[in-house]
């Protein structure tokens, strides 16, 4: 009888890269469904197109470079879904296609594919799209009005007159001292606001977070520290800061980024201390950009900027168990 011979350990977890990415996809379905309900079926098409073109982009890259297929690990699907959820519900369909190809081909695969890219593909692609098609990327829509019957509204989605660039985030821009009256915290929590497809519904994002925690896919420290740091930064940067903490956390893509984008394995540090610095820095920068920069949002910029510090943060090497400082050799005279 032929026996297998291999090095220890001989048993191991059943978890694979593919399963991890599958769990993330399932967790991403929560905001996808919430966004679809808020903005109608077209927003689902946007996410679908983004996801499909991301997978296609990776497939083509594998074929062009004649490398083994890597689409099976589902990481391209995750990137595509995250990018799609980062788009406004009115985006014309070429936007997710261009964005996904940029994210996968340039940001991810050119730097070595899964685990090797230094910046978050979805966040970078979003920045690229904002800079290239600022108009399309800021055409938000008010949630669909379901009072006239569900299916009709759901299928036709937003109508032209609903398109607006006003979101709670733009309302907050420039405000200080008192929160603008248009801000309704309950609406923001439930997602009855304008914004990108995936970011509007805080409930769905929290459900996704719980799902990811149950399956131990992400490290809770990243989102928690990020949110805490953002709250502290809001307290500091705004006059009467305590009034701004909840509006800051619930507006824009902050929660979505905390759960799905900051926790990206490749672009976050390896060590606990590194992760805390990384998440705290990202939270601080997010609010700093929102408050003082010319842009409306700051999440993507903050994440990409902090991504660039990860190689530096990874130089922090924890001391092994039982580490003792080597005794200094006696100075020679």
């Amino acid at each position: 009888m032929k026996l297998q011979v291999s090095s220890s350990p001989h048993i191991g977890t059943k978890l694979t890269t593919q399963k991890i990415m599958g769990h993330v996809c399932i967790a991403l379905l929560f905001p996808t469904i919430a966004g679809t309900v808020m903005f109608g079926i077209y927003s689902f098409v946007v996410v679908l197109v983004a996801a499909a073109s991301a997978v296609l982009a990776e497939f083509l890259y594998n074929k062009i470079t004649r490398q083994p297929l890597t689409v099976n690990d589902l990481s391209a699907l995750v990137t595509g879904m995250i990018l799609g959820l980062n788009l406004p519900p009115t985006a014309p369909l070429f936007v997710p296609i261009v964005g996904s190809f940029f994210a996968i081909m340039i940001v991810k695969m050119l730097f070595g594919g899964i685990g090797r890219n230094f910046a978050n593909p979805a966040a970078t692609a979003r920045l690229f799209l904002v800079l290239s098609w600022t108009g399309f990327m800021t055409n938000y829509a008010a949630p669909v009005d379901y009072s006239q019957g569900f299916w009709k509204a759901f299928v036709s989605g937003f109508t032209k007159e609903y398109v607006t660039s006003a979101t709670p985030l733009t309302a907050l821009k420039g405000a200080s001292g008192a929160v603008p009256e248009s801000i309704n915290l309950l609406d923001m929590f439930l997602g009855r606001i304008g914004g990108s497809i995936g970011e509007v519904c805080a409930v769905a994002i929290i459900l996704g977070f719980i799902y990811l925690m149950i399956f131990k896919i992400i490290d809770w420290k990243l989102p928690v520290v990020y949110i805490a740091a953002s709250a502290v930064a809001a307290l500091v940067f705004y006059k009467n800061g305590w009034l701004f903490i909840l509006p800051t956390l619930l507006s824009g893509g902050l929660l979505f980024a905390a759960v799905y984008m900051l926790t990206d394995y490749s672009t976050s540090p390896n060590t606990t201390i590194g992760r805390i610095i990384f998440a705290a820095g990202a939270g601080f920068l997010t609010v700093l950009f929102r408050r003082y920069s010319g842009m409306v949002g700051g999440v993507s910029f903050a994440i990409v900027l902090m991504n660039l510090t990860v190689p530096l943060l990874d130089r922090i090497i924890p001391k092994p168990f039982g580490y003792v400082k080597p005794k200094k050799e006696a100075a020679r005279d």
């Binding site: 090095s7 350990p9 048993i11 890269t17 060590t271 039982g322 580490y323």
Partner: protein, 428 residues
């Protein structure tokens, strides 16, 4: 309160296969092959030649040098050959082949009453006792540390999945273990003795607690977690002391001894019996009738498997599934340090197909030595030896937690070993 160390993993313990089965004696085969090196250190020198008649317990291999151990015959009969065979690690070493005459005549050392320190030490040396937990470090060397010892920890954690030999030992021979412990304590002059047992073995905890009543030995319940039985982890869990990364337990005044070793010490002193039987677990779905066996040293694994019967299996492991050695065939023999033989079928064994590291950091979160195995893996495969040195692979205890949790199936333990080896060769 349960004590524990930092990080580590929770594999399924699978001990239910054999936990309730009392030890049964397996009779020796017609021929036993006794390896002259069953321990860490210099191999023993053969003291018999072909044609000699030996009894069970006759000294057939003599320790050479300080770190070495005596080897005794496990059956009575005639020496028919001295030949080279592969041991479980795949190394060719000398084995003394003895034809079993089936009489089992015994040759014992004189039992000792009220032994002195020197008596105990000499007896451990004479009886060829080595660490029974798997490391097989000669016990007579271990109980002679150069530094004063304040705490003796008895390792009953048995954190490897499947294995129940130490557990059964604690249930069936608690009194004897405690007596063995008291001898070791006398030699070391330790003030404190703690028996550490994982909390998934409540019956063993009860049995030991009953046995230590009236002595100053305490039983410490430990949290079930792998590698709780790792020396440095166990010491940290029980005493909160950290063994220096380059040091030995004696550096913090602690010695760790396995429960089965304590039993062997008892046998050697009270009964005068040298170390030639092995209490072991034979388990896994590949075994038709999993069991806890008392096997004579030198019995080929093939005979053990034939004795219990087997189903289809794809892998045979000597030791636990986390740190044990997989063997290419069943020719190697049972040695003093083999606490188990596992035959795994396809459903239990892990198929490894390495994929790229996704940087998830699970290995770093699992490493009880606080290393970052993925970085060593990445650097050493590119031959960046000096860079990988910064990640301290030389501290790795090869417990396998990193590779266990890796979703990308990276061979992390191998790369740590490779890094250790290359650093030793090229940098020191």
């Amino acid at each position: 309160m349960s004590y524990l160390f930092n990080r580590g993993i929770h594999p399924k313990d699978k001990k239910e296969l054999t936990a309730d089965l009392p030890f049964e004696v397996m009779s020796a085969p017609a021929k036993v092959y006794i390896p002259l090196c069953q321990h860490i250190g210099a191999p023993a020198k053969a003291r018999v030649s072909v044609g000699d008649r030996v009894k069970a317990g006759t000294l057939i291999g003599e320790a050479t040098g300080f770190i070495s151990a005596n080897v005794h015959s496990s059956v009575s009969g005639t020496v028919v050959a001295i030949e080279q065979r592969e041991n479980a690690a795949g190394r060719k070493i000398d084995h003394i082949v003895i034809e079993n005459d089936g009489l089992y005549e015994e040759e014992a050392l004189p039992p000792l009453e009220n032994p002195t320190k020197m008596d105990i030490f000499t007896r451990c040396y004479d009886a060829g006792i080595v660490g029974m937990g798997g490391a097989t470090f000669p016990t007579h060397v271990k109980i002679q540390p150069k530094k004063p010892i304040h705490t003796l920890i008895i390792n009953g954690a048995e954190c490897e999945p499947y294995i129940t030999a130490d557990y059964r030992m604690m249930l069936e021979h608690p009194k004897e273990i405690v007596e063995g412990i008291s001898y070791i304590k006398t030699v070391l002059g330790a003030q404190k003795v703690v028996i550490g047992i994982e909390d998934n073995k409540p019956k063993a905890i009860d049995a030991m607690q009953a046995a230590v009543a009236g002595t100053d030995i305490t039983v410490q319940k430990l949290k079930t977690k792998y590698p709780q039985g790792g020396e440095k982890q166990l010491i940290h869990a029980v005493t909160k002391l950290k063994v220096p990364w380059t040091g030995l337990p004696a550096d913090v005044g602690v010695i760790v001894v396995n429960v089965t070793t304590a039993f062997a010490v008892y046998e050697a002193i009270k009964l005068g019996k040298p170390s030639y039987t092995r209490f072991m677990t034979v388990s896994g779905k590949g075994i038709k009738r999993p069991a806890n066996l008392i096997v004579r040293v030198g019995t080929p694994f093939e005979d053990v498997v034939d004795y219990l019967g087997h189903n289809d299996y794809v892998k045979a492991i000597v030791g636990g599934p986390m740190m044990g050695l997989s063997i290419a065939n069943l020719n190697p023999v049972v040695a003093k340090g083999n606490s188990s033989l596992l035959l795994l079928d396809k459903s239990e064994e892990r198929e490894i197909e390495p994929t790229p590291c996704i940087n998830c950091g699970r290995c770093a979160m699992a490493c009880p030595m606080r290393l970052i195995p993925m970085m060593t893996d990445r650097l050493i495969l590119k031959d960046k030896i000096a860079d990988s040195y910064k990640y301290h692979p030389q501290c790795c205890i090869e417990c396998g937690c990193c590779a266990y949790v890796c979703p990308a199936d990276r061979p992390l333990v191998q790369s740590q070993r490779l890094a250790k080896k290359l650093i030793k060769e090229r940098m020191q």
